[in-house]
């Protein structure tokens, strides 16, 4: 543990200068390891039109271990549970220190475009997604309207 690593500073700078389209990630005023993230619901997905808030935290041994990310806005998605935790391999065993905050956020955006009910975190949601996809999508749109559009 020492001062904030140069890598975090430089990654942050680049995120600010060349933001990822559809994603804003701003470090907290009081903690440079904590980011307030807003992801726009991808077009042609049930999350379209929604703005989803996430929190991203860079643990002490970042980049040797993955950032911790969770959704703060409620979302109806088979790979995201009700506490907002995300089932995404690169956030777990497939993390590599060559990945960055930027790549993580892109992956999360892609996960919204392509939910994967075969690798579920929210069991009930995944179940419905498999047996009755249209209803699941309707729920997802409902939740998007209710929780992700009121800002």
């Amino acid at each position: 543990m020492a001062a904030l690593p140069r890598r975090i500073i430089k990654e942050t700078q680049r995120l600010m200068q060349e933001p990822v389209p559809g994603i804003s990630a701003v470090p907290s005023e009081s903690n440079a390891r904590y980011f307030h993230v807003i992801v726009t619901g991808p077009e042609d997905s049930p999350f379209e039109g929604g703005l989803f808030k996430l929190e991203l935290f860079l643990p002490e041994d970042y980049p040797m271990s993955a950032p911790k990310v969770r959704f703060i806005t409620k979302i109806y998605h088979p790979n995201i549970d009700r506490l907002g935790r995300i089932c995404l391999d690169i956030l777990k065993d497939k993390w590599s220190p060559a990945l960055q905050i930027r790549t993580v956020l892109l992956s999360i955006q892609a996960l919204l475009s392509a939910p994967n009910p075969d690798d579920p975190l929210a069991n009930d949601v995944a179940e419905l997604w498999k047996v009755n996809e249209s209803e699941a999508i309707r729920n997802a749109k409902d939740w998007t309207r209710r929780y992700a559009m009121d800002n």
Binding site: M1, I9, I72, P97
Partner: protein
Amino acid sequence: MIRAEFRKSNTCERLTMFIQRLFELGNFFMSWIKKHKRTTSIMGDCCCKNSVPDVFTYAPSSATQSANSPYENRQRSPKVDPNLVDQLVLEMLTVAASRVDTDEESPVSLVKLHLIADKEEGWIQMITSMVNVIPIENPFGPTAISILLDACPLPSRETVIKVTELFGLSSERAKQGEINVRVDRNICIVLGSLAEKLVGPNSIAMLTEKTLDYLFTFLVDHREPCLCLFALIALEKFAHTMENKIVIKDKLEKSGENPLLHLEKFADSEDNIWRQVGFCASWSLDNLFVVEGRKLSYEVVDMKDINAILNCQDVSEYLQISPNGLEARCDSYSFESVRCTFQVDDGCWYYEATVVTPGVMQIGWATKNSHFLSDEGFGIGDDLYSISYDGCRELVWYNARPTSITAVKPWAPGDVLGCLIDLATKEIIFSVNGQRLPTYNEIFEATKYGFFAAASFMAYQQCKFNFGKEPFKYAPEDRIFATFNDFGQLTDEQKKVIPRRLYLERLRHSSVKEDSCTLCYDDTACCVLEPCGHRGFCSVCTSMLRDCPMCRGEILNIRREAI
């Protein structure tokens, strides 16, 4: 260590696991409750005597149903008996403060609170209960509010606004004759914790003119120091959102003399609560609500004769350090840690820590091998390389294992913890107000030298350190010892406790060399991974790799290139 079930990640994982089990294994759940009932009753009050049916009533009725009709379900859910919620909150406090064994399961009261708070009305009820029943004298109270709110699913915007309205906040409320300090203190803590978690539009929605007036009134008329303190902390947390920060700053500047300028004078107060107010006011003025024309504290503080301080290069993110480097405070829900600047390798050394607050802090000794995993709830005493005493729960911590201490009372504000390390006799001796605790030596099996004074803080805790600049209150009499201040040396630059924002500003202006390591951007890239042949990593980073960051290939050999 912060109890396993209160640690963020574990809480979530355990809870989800638990809820899944709840859905899938009804019978198993029954037996689990029974088992737990037994263990809790051994420890005294059983917190779940009549509780089994309640949990079932308030749990979502079934997985598929809730997925099909989330809102209907929401409306149908019965209101939980407010007395039950009050009782659960109190139980949770007792459980949190008294039990220390790292149980396999979360306490029932906590699990039930989670289930209740999962519904928006239930969440509001939990807030109301916390505000009403958490006693002002419970040292764990403020921390518990922070941690509980952090561990529960976050509310929607409507719910947050509803709660804010429910409190009926206004300057009139703050001014009224008979004020209920407990309730208003708890409201301030709830507001602050929510503002911290809901940075952005929801935090802005909460900080209405009335909310701001309410908090501001406590800041201006000083009739109750603890309200002044928690109102100020709430404002600091609201200021995490830029728009709010501007509004608050504006209000501070327009109110005649900026109230913070008056409050910061209390930083040296002998009264332990006013002292905290002063600390926070001064920190805000240096970091958040900067006043033009006011010199920053580090520029004016007298550092003469101070030769050892808390190291502001060796501290976790949220800990606040006083301008003279001898006092620290945490207002975050994470478990924040710091080490001293002075390293001890041989001989006998002593320092004292005066606790300003009565809550959970783990104070003692650590080497550089001890990591500050603030977000996971690990701090000093939670690994092989550090040992600490927590006088709130009366525990000595080593390797994340607690040993109960019964010889002394729980610490109170103003109490002095003495920390002695004798490397010749391999002894670590803590004392509280001069009364000695048993001697510890296990830590010397793993480590022989390289110790630093070190401490970890839970939310809303503050402590003042004496590394030998002042006379000690309870100096050990049975042996000769040295102090860091007599032997320490700091350059003028090292003595500066620069506000974090200025420090980050400096870092931003530093540049990255072209041949830098692609992982840390710090050292020179000099290693080639074999057999895959990927390069661009320094030796420090390479030593921490298990497989190649680029292709995930196995690393069989590391070849160093000539630079």
